[in-house]
Amino acid sequence: MQISNRLSGSVLAALGAAAAWGGSRLPPVPGQDVGPAAFPMVIGFGLVACGVLIALGIGRSFEVEETPEPLTWRVLVPPGLLVFYVLAANELGFLLTAAAMVLAAGLALGARPRLALAMAVIAPPLVHLAFYKLLRVPLPAGLLPAPWA
C-alpha cells in the first residue's frame, strides 16, 4: 500500500506541476489581470501539495485498510468493449456490435456459454427498441438493420 501511495502521490504532484505550468502559458485577457490562467494554476499548486503529502503517507490514519481483489486481465474487458463499440458501431451496426459486447462481457464474467449467447441475442434488440423507437436515438444500422428501423 505504501509503495502505491508513493506512486499515486508522485503522479498527482507531477500532474499538478504540469497543470500549473500549462496554465501559466495560456494567453491572458487583454487589459485584465485575472484570466484563464489563474484557476488551473491554483489547482495545479494544490495538487502538487496533496501529491507530496500523499507520497509522504500523511493522512493514512484516516483510511480503513481494505485488501482489494487481486487484479486480473479481465478488468480491462469493459473499457476495451467500449472502445470496440466506438470503432465498430458504424460499420457493423448497433445490433451486431451490442451482441458482441454482451457476449464477450458475459463470458468474461464466467457465464455459461448458453446464457451468454441467450443474453447476446435478447438484450440488444430490446435496448435498440427502447432507445431507437421510444427515445429516438439515431443508433447506427450498419450490416444488420433492425426490422423496425
Partner: protein, 500 residues
Amino acid sequence: MNDLAEAVRIVLATDVLIAILASAVYGLVVGSLPGLSATMATALLVPVTFWLSPIAAIATIITASAMAIFSGDIPGALLRIPGTPASAAYTDEAYAMTRKGQAELALGAGLWFSAIGGIVGTLSLMLMAPLLAEMALSFSSYEYFWLALLGLMCATLVARSSPIKAIASMLLGLLIACIGMENPAGTPRFTFGVTDLLGGIEPIPALVGVFAVSEVMRAMASAEPPKLPPRRFGSILANQWLLTKRYQWQMWRGNIVGIIIGVLPGAGADMAAWVSYAMSKKFSRTPELFGTGHPEGLVEAGASNNASLASGWVPSLLFGIPGDTITAIAIGVLYMKGLNPGPTLFTERASSMYALYIIFILANIIMIPLGIVMIRLASVVLRAPRSAVMPVILLLCAVGAFAIGNNPFSVLMVGVFGVLGFVMERQGFPVAALVLGIVMGNMVEQNFVTSLIKSDGDVWPFFERPVSSVLAAFTIGALLWPLGVWIWNRLKSTTGEIVR
C-alpha cells in the same frame, strides 16, 4: 393556493404518474442488485429524461433515487452485501438480525424508517427552501464562490478515507473541468488539439464511467456473490409501530442529522448513514448490543439517509450546488428542462416547486407497498446471475452516453472514466469528490475569477461581506477539520499512554 392546485394538476397528469411508477420499480430493482448504486441508477436514467416533460423528468429522478436508497438495504440484510453505499454503515447490523431470525424486522425497519425519513426530509425542504431563497437573492459572486467551495470541501469529508486523498480527488475533478473553451477568455484550454475536447468534459459520461463502468470492471475481478436461498417472509410491518414508539427519539435525531447533512452542499446519504449510525451507538444506553443484531442503529441511520436525500435538494434548487452525487445529476436535468436552479425558481415557478414536493411525498408513500412487494420478490430478483446483468449494464452505459449528444466520443469518455474510477477506488481515492469537482468546476472558476476581477486581485473582499465571511469560516473549518481530529486522537493516545 392557486399554485398548489396547479401543482396537484401537474402531478396527476398521466405521464407523470407513469414516470413515477416505472421509475419506482426501476429504482427498487437496481438498488437491490449489489454493486449497482443509487447514483448509477440515476445516471443511467438521464437519457430517458430527455424525452419526458420537465416535471416527469424530475419525478423519475426523485422516485428512482429514493427507492434505490431503501432497496440497497435488502441485499445488505439478506446477504451482508450493501446494495448501495448508503446502506453500508448498517449492513452488518441488519445481517446479524437476519441471522437471529429477524429478517422481517430488519427489512421492515429499513422500509418504514426510510419512508418516514423521506417525508420528514421533504417537509424540511418545503420549510427551508423559501426562507433561504429570500436570503439567496442578495448573494454575490463572493458568496457563490464560498458556497461552491464549501460544497466541495464537504464532499471531501468522506468516512473511512484519507482527507488528503479526497481533496486530491476533488482537485483532479476541478482540473478536468478546466478542459475546453468554457473559461474566462474562451481560449481552448488543455484540449491538446482534440476537437471533441473543445466543448469540455460532460459530467454525465464521467458519472456513468466512474459509477457504472468501474463497477462492471470490479465485478470482473471479484467472485460472484452467494445466491439467496428462497425464503418466505412473515409480516414486514408487524412490529414497526412498536419500534417507532420505542426508538422515537433516535428516529427524530436520525431525521434531523440526515437533514443537516443533506443541506450541506456536497455531503450526501452515505455520509448521513455513517454519522447517524455512529451517533446512535455513542448515545445509546446499550452500546454493547450494537453489531449483534440490535435495531436501534438501524432505525436512526435508515431514517437519516433518506432524510438527507430530500434535503439535499435545498442547495441544488436554490444555488445550483449539488447536495450529493444524485442531485449533481438532477441539476443537469433541471438546466436541460429550463428549470434553472436559483432563488427565483421559488418565486416564478412556485407551482413547479409545489409539484416537486408532492412527488417527493408521493414517492415515499408508495415506497411502502412497493417495497413490501420488492422484499418478497427479493429472492427472485437477487437470483439474476451477475454475468447476465453486468453485460447489459455495460451496454446501457454505451448507449446512454451516446444518446446524450449522439457523439461516439462520449462513449470513449465513459470508458476512460471507468478506468480512472476503478484505479482511484483501488488506491483509496473517493470518487464522489472527483465527480463533484467535475460538475462544479465551471461554477467555482466563474465566481472565483469574477470576484477577483471585481476586487482588483485583492483577497480581502472575499471575507468582507457578512454572509461570505461566515461561509468562508465554514469552508476553512471543513479544510482544517481532519487536522483537528488527528491532533485530538494524537493527544488522547499520548495521555492514555502516560496514564498507563
